[in-house]
């Protein structure tokens, strides 16, 4: 980890508009393409693993909370408390046990936060399925299982996709916090840039890449949603 130098040690005041330290520089980008791409890849990897893991765990959990009413309170309450705890504190809880050599610590943390968003959105979406729709399905002889797969989940899908999009965008931003726990993707470049003489081009380029990654993934999910839910296309966005 880079040492945390501060301005007092370096004898620098607040950096003014130094022409040698511009906010953006193409030569920085062209000379460091490999570093930037490696950080971007790590960022994408951490985001995707966390969101996929979270989805796989969260949707069954939400269905369970939906079906077994007495479990909804504890599940929502527990996730709410967890959500109040800042990510850095969560990493601090985990790191002494899971270490910082492998991305385990960061992945567990990221997965947990994404999980909470998806569980809440899925549960809300399932609960918003109109009662008369459920009634008519029951009247048509749907069993519990068929009702879930053919009525409840399809009708809840727009809400579930919204949850996925929120979770993905938040996770991209949150990965940067993993820097202290050894795995921060583009966050390593942002904080590394700050710690090596406040290197503005690196901070700015990594930040822009991070925001761009979030927007691109959001658009991808939006497009996926339109493909798998053709009936939502007619509505204005």
């Amino acid at each position: 980890m880079p040492s945390k130098v501060n301005d007092a040690v370096l004898g620098l005041g607040a950096p003014g508009d130094d022409p040698r330290n511009p906010w953006f520089s193409w030569s920085y980008v062209s000379q460091n393409t490999d570093t930037l791409l490696a950080a971007l890849r790590e960022h994408l990897f951490l985001t995707l693993v966390a969101v996929v893991l979270a989805t796989v765990i969260a949707i069954p959990l939400a269905i369970l909370a939906y079906r077994v009413g007495s479990l909804a309170g504890p599940i929502l309450g527990f996730t709410g408390v967890l959500y109040t705890i800042p990510s850095l504190a969560l990493f601090a809880f985990l790191a002494p046990f899971t270490g910082i050599v492998k991305p385990t610590t960061v992945l567990i943390g990221l997965t947990m936060y994404a999980l909470l968003t998806i569980v809440r959105n899925t549960l809300t979406a399932l609960r918003q399925v109109p009662a008369d729709v459920l009634d008519s399905a029951r009247g048509m002889g749907y069993g519990k299982r068929a009702m879930l797969w053919r009525i409840e989940l399809p009708l809840a899908l727009p809400g579930i996709m919204t949850g996925l999009r929120i979770a993905t965008v938040s996770t991209v931003a949150l990965v940067t916090v993993g820097e202290l726990a050894g795995w921060g993707g583009l966050g390593e470049l942002i904080i590394g840039g700050f710690n090596s003489n406040y290197y503005r081009p690196q901070i700015m380029t990594a930040t822009l890449l991070c925001v761009a990654l979030a927007l691109v993934l959001d658009l991808v999910l939006l497009a996926v949603g339109r493909v798998i839910m053709p009936w939502t296309r007619r509505r204005a966005a």
């Binding site: 705890i85 800042p86 504190a89 809880f93 949150l174």
Partner: protein, 241 residues
């Protein structure tokens, strides 16, 4: 487990509490930075949200602001702001944190005014209230539960996010964690764990206190009904830090 023992030992050392950069000083620092950021956020977001809600304009803009704020990493703003004209020090950190307080404050203020029953608004108009009187005597009092809800969400959000000031040596309880990581997990693991515990505890206490305050602000007849969070822009979870 030895890490847990280390954490207990670290917490049991009175110097770690009373040092100039000890737990007491760091907590005070954490709280005043957060309070300043929330105050600044309120000063900007409430008038704006109330005005937009009163006029019934700008709903899509509120949603856009909320969504955009999720995509911007807190860490990036915390590193960028000190390098601009704002300069190093608490000012840059307070400003960065206040930006993350704005979306929940704005969304709830807007929603609170929009949720006022149109018939109540009509009745007010029929009684001859001007736009300003309607806002002051009818809409704002009815929006108080929403404003309080937004305040709690924003404040908890800021207190949690203030931990990240440690990445730029900006003070607060996060410094205990970052110093611990700086020592390496072998010797600083206990401190890391203790710091995480303190931060989590502070956030849960702030959340609890504000939830009680929110309840106290709610008019008595409404308290018996189970408090339902609003079902629109504002019920989406705040950006995580």
């Amino acid at each position: 487990m030895s890490v847990i023992d280390d954490a207990i030992v670290w917490l049991n050392d009175p110097l770690n509490w009373t040092n100039p950069d000890g737990i007491f000083a760091r907590t005070a620092e954490h709280l005043w930075i957060s309070a300043a950021a929330v105050a600044l956020g309120c000063a900007v977001a409430w008038p704006l949200g109330v005005l937009m809600g009163h006029l019934g304009r700008g709903g899509p803009a509120v949603v856009t602001v909320t969504n955009l704020s999720r995509a911007v990493p807190t860490v990036a703003l915390l590193t960028i702001f000190p390098l601009t004209a704002i300069g190093f020090g608490p000012k840059a950190i307070i400003l960065a944190l206040s930006l993350f307080a704005i979306p929940p404050l704005l969304a709830n203020a807007y929603l609170g005014l929009r949720e006022v029953d149109p018939e109540v608004r009509d009745a007010g108009r029929g009684m001859g209230l001007s736009g300003w009187q309607l806002l002051r005597k009818v809409e704002l009092p009815l929006a108080v539960p929403y404003l309080a809800n937004g305040f709690r969400i924003a404040a908890v959000q800021v207190v949690a996010t203030a931990t990240l000031a440690a990445y730029v040596n900006g003070g607060g309880l996060g410094m205990i964690i970052s110093r611990g990581f700086g020592l390496g997990l072998a010797s600083g693991g206990g401190q890391v764990l203790a710091g995480g515990l303190l931060v989590a505890l502070l956030c849960l206490i702030v959340e609890g206190v504000l939830a009680l305050a929110e309840r106290a602000l709610l008019p008595k007849p409404l308290r018996r009904v189970k408090h339902r969070p609003p079902a629109s822009v504002a019920d989406a979870l705040p950006a995580r830090s």
